[in-house]
């Protein structure tokens, strides 16, 4: 089913999403990948505050190519999510409501998603040029020293994603392998 969703998410919006739904996202989302996750995680473990408000927000696992003068952002597709698994349950317990990436998640992440009513989306891996066209604004808001791995605030319009794991733990990757 095609769905049009505006960020921030809510528990109600998330509960309406089912594994296999095609979703067009609009609004603010944040980018973070390996190094930013590690830094946020270590900061939170030490009791410090992190530069983004996780509550009801979405993190996109992205490290874009540099933008040219006339571009909002460079190529901007998803990176493999499983490398963020170690850090993700803590972020979910702290209010994170959605993630965009590609590939499998471990059981600890799925359990934390069910507990906190969160959703995991996949964007199409290797379609970074196409996806960049749906990003209308981009600015680095933290961890500038990490280069491509800095945290960015993006404004997206009709950004195309697929619900892979929903808030009940249904997993599209497993569903398609069982039916093949």
């Amino acid at each position: 089913m095609d769905q049009y969703i505006t960020t921030p998410l809510t528990t109600q919006k998330v509960e309406e999403l089912r594994a296999g739904d095609y979703v067009y996202l609009s609004g603010i989302i944040y980018t973070a990948r390996d190094a930013a996750h590690q830094r946020m995680y270590e900061t939170m473990e030490e009791g410090g505050s992190i530069p983004i408000d996780l509550k009801n927000n979405i993190i996109y696992y992205l490290g874009p190519t540099p933008e040219k003068e006339n571009q909002v952002i460079g190529s901007a597709g998803p990176t493999t999510s499983s490398r963020m698994d170690k850090y993700t349950p803590l972020l979910l317990d702290s209010g994170l409501k959605g993630m965009i990436g590609k590939g499998k998640r471990n059981q600890a992440v799925i359990d934390a998603m069910i507990k906190n009513k969160a959703v995991y989306f996949a964007a199409v891996g290797g379609a970074g040029a196409l996806l960049s066209k749906r990003i209308k604004a981009s600015k680095v808001i933290a961890y500038d020293d990490l280069g491509t791995e800095a945290i960015r605030e993006l404004f997206v319009e009709d950004f195309p994603v697929i619900v892979v794991i929903d808030s009940e733990g249904n997993n599209l990757y497993e569903i398609v392998m069982q039916s093949s």
Partner: protein, 280 residues
């Protein structure tokens, strides 16, 4: 004796880094577009359609095909009658990479140490493989390699008695484990024989071979065809979301090996299988 100056090598490598990241080789591109016509899964067709559109946008608007513009893998075959003048050759190759990634607006994805993970900020060093060959030319292949798929690659040290069936099982297991993580549809480069490190290098080289030029050994060509069929029967599909198009091609390279061994390396590449070759 022919003299080749390193300025020429730098210029060529710079251009090849950029070309590889904006325009796919024709064999890869035609298989991505062809898969769209053959795929029967609705979601699979939708994803393959996006991949075709992505290639159009990349070349029309000059945006890299994928944001992971890779670690630069360089194969350089140096004719033994060539004399290289100018910089140290390794410095020249890295200078070409540096200029290509900067001027091409490509992502800098290299950290200086596996544990002290500080970005080198110019995508150097590259991974350089040298070969000395007859002749008075230099052949260079630049293959920027993304790590979503690299991370799903494997080496198996099989027993001779495992034979072709054992190799097939190893490849299918690797592709299944990779699943959606490696950005299917994938290209599978396989190295069989040699030693532990030789088979891995062969697998990488196999990825740079044109998919429309199968192995010239009949039993290997048959294995390439069989594996492509069996991988596509797994049902992983585009994006790992189901369908017939799990792999676009299987390329195998072999080498003599030890009486006790059957090494197999499976180097997985996503559909953005980039490689450019030039001769100086």
């Amino acid at each position: 004796m022919r003299v080749i100056r390193t300025e020429e090598i730098i210029q060529q490598i710079k251009e090849m880094c950029i070309e590889a990241n904006y325009q796919l080789a024709s064999d890869v591109e035609s298989r991505v577009r062809g898969a769209f016509l053959k795929e029967t899964s609705v979601l699979g067709r939708q994803i393959l359609g996006q991949l075709s559109e992505n290639l159009d946008i990349a070349s029309a608007d000059f945006i890299p095909i994928c944001q992971d513009t890779g670690m630069a893998i360089v194969f350089i075959k140096i004719g033994q009658n060539v004399h290289i003048e100018g910089l140290n050759l390794e410095e020249a190759i890295n200078e070409g990479i540096r200029q290509g990634y900067e001027e091409g607006y490509l992502r800098k994805s290299v950290v200086k140490d596996p544990f002290i993970r500080i970005n080198t900020k110019d995508n150097t060093p590259g991974i350089i493989h040298y070969d000395i060959v007859p002749g008075d030319q230099i052949e260079i292949t630049v293959a920027p390699k993304g790590f979503g798929s690299e991370n799903m690659s494997r080496v198996y040290m099989l027993k001779p008695s495992d034979g072709i069936e054992g190799v097939k099982q190893a490849v299918l297991e690797t592709v299944k484990l990779a699943g959606p993580n490696a950005c299917p549809p994938i290209v599978v480069g396989i190295g069989i024989g040699g030693s532990f490190e030789k088979c891995a290098l062969l697998a990488k080289k196999a990825l740079t071979r044109n998919m429309n030029q199968p192995s010239d050994q009949e039993h290997i060509r048959t294995l390439e065809e069989d594996l492509l069929f069996e991988i596509n029967e797994l049902g992983i599909g585009p994006g790992g979301l189901g369908g017939k198009t799990t792999a676009l091609g299987v390329n195998i390279e072999t080498y003599p090996t030890h009486i006790a061994g059957l090494p197999v390396a499976i180097n997985i590449c996503c559909h953005v299988n980039r490689h450019v070759t030039r001769v100086i």
